[in-house]
Symmetry: C2
Subunit: 232 residues, 2 copies
DNA sequence: CGGGTTGGGAGAGCACTGCTCTCGGTTTTG
DNA sequence: CAAAACCGAGAGCAGTGCTCTCCCAACCCG
């Protein structure tokens, strides 16, 4: 059906790729607010209205870039985890953290669109973004689940409030997990903390000249985060 | 000098306040990207160019709103801490966290401007924002320092890398602190984690229907954060 | 092969934005 | 009281997102 590969359809896909590529470049250089379909059209060597044949609106272009960014981050995390011995659960979790940080520092504008303040007036359509957008946290959960099944997880064994426990039970069922509630809760916090650290660094909340090497700070925090879920 | 209170200067200050008030309203309803000087002028009942007599640019208006937001958050945190017994250090730290979260949920658009992705092309002038912008973290540090001096801090006693230790020493000197390195490092992480949790909740990273009450999640995490710095 | 259908670029146009300029009228000041 | 500062109105420029019509080339099918 939609798989007929005529010359025209191939040209269309090429144009689509060009639009995303140019959009990413503008995002990186000028930021999300300055992302303009007219500017993309200029770089594409085409009049602005022509771009609307491919992208319905500026928000649609932003969605394309969001999905693109989530995928790239997910690939980076997967590659980083893949390079660590499967039995080194702490190392795998640390690899996730480092991959997130490095990608965020390399692509701060895209990171900002994904994890910063949502661009006002724009809501990422969940049906297209939740899939790629959950790759990182799912990898993290996988690492913890593996560690738990291998008996390598020192479960903190702390009480969980009833209502929260019910939610965690649903999560455990949805993701087919066997780790106890406390680990999921600790993992949630570690997940949010990781992105809190990365956001602080990328968004400059630490201040300009506070640390000689923010990588040192991150490594120190990463160690604490790995321990906080019962690893290491 | 600049304190002459003529009718005109009072009118000017009133107009300034109106501009900030209207700007805040627009920020809350339409978000930062939709913040428009022309719209503010319309609400003010004045032509757009007249607003430029008071505010040099759109970015300048944003700076006014940023300072306003930092101040309001700082006031909320101060008030929350003030209601807790000075000897209850864990309670004071938790009060900071709850105040940040509640204010962020009440003013998500302003929170997004302060702690989300920086509005691209806009850089908050440090000489006007670092002061109000550091009130929260300084309050946190004060709580930890008080607890340490009262002997109520169970110091984790973990090693700190040399370069990081040097930076922490400088921080300790600048802020006149006596808490050990490890506590500062743990505090930094707790600070970033706190805002990570709040940002995840405000920016909807947890997903729409994951938790029946995100307050439960926050309270659970808050307990862990308080413990992580050696309190409670 | 030829006619109808579709894709897609060009251009004009609307409403909006930030921002600058000039022109008057008012208020403050020396 | 005159000079200076202040400040609102309005026009204007360049940019934006988006829609519309026009029109030509490519495609598909009988």
């Amino acid at each position: 059906m939609t798989e007929t590969s005529t010359p025209r359809s191939r040209a269309r896909e090429q144009t689509m790729r060009d639009i995303v590529r140019i959009g990413r470049a503008h995002l990186a250089t000028d930021g999300a607010a300055a992302l303009s379909l007219r500017a993309v059209a200029r770089d594409l060597g085409v009049v602005s209205s022509a771009v609307y044949r491919y992208v319905a609106s500026r928000d649609e272009l932003l969605t394309l870039l969001v999905v693109d960014g989530y995928d790239e981050l997910g690939d980076a995390v997967d590659a980083a985890v893949g390079e660590v011995d499967a039995a080194d659960h702490a190392g795998r979790m640390a690899a996730v953290g480092r991959a997130v940080r490095l990608w965020a520092l390399a692509e701060p504008a895209t990171y900002a669109v994904l994890f910063g303040s949502p661009v006002p007036g724009y809501e990422a359509p969940p049906e297209r973004t939740t899939g790629p957008g959950t790759r990182v946290v799912l990898r993290l959960v996988e690492v913890w689940e593996d560690a738990w099944r291998a008996g390598a997880l020192a479960v903190p064994d702390e009480p969980v409030a009833p209502r929260l426990a019910a939610d965690l039970a649903r999560i455990r069922r949805d993701l087919d997990l066997t780790v106890p509630d406390a680990v999921i809760a600790r993992g949630l916090l570690a997940w949010a903390s990781l992105f809190g650290c990365v956001s602080f660094e990328v968004f400059g909340q630490y201040g300009p000249d506070t640390f000689t090497d923010t990588g040192d700070v991150f490594e120190h925090h990463l160690r604490a985060l790995v321990e906080s879920v019962g690893l290491g």
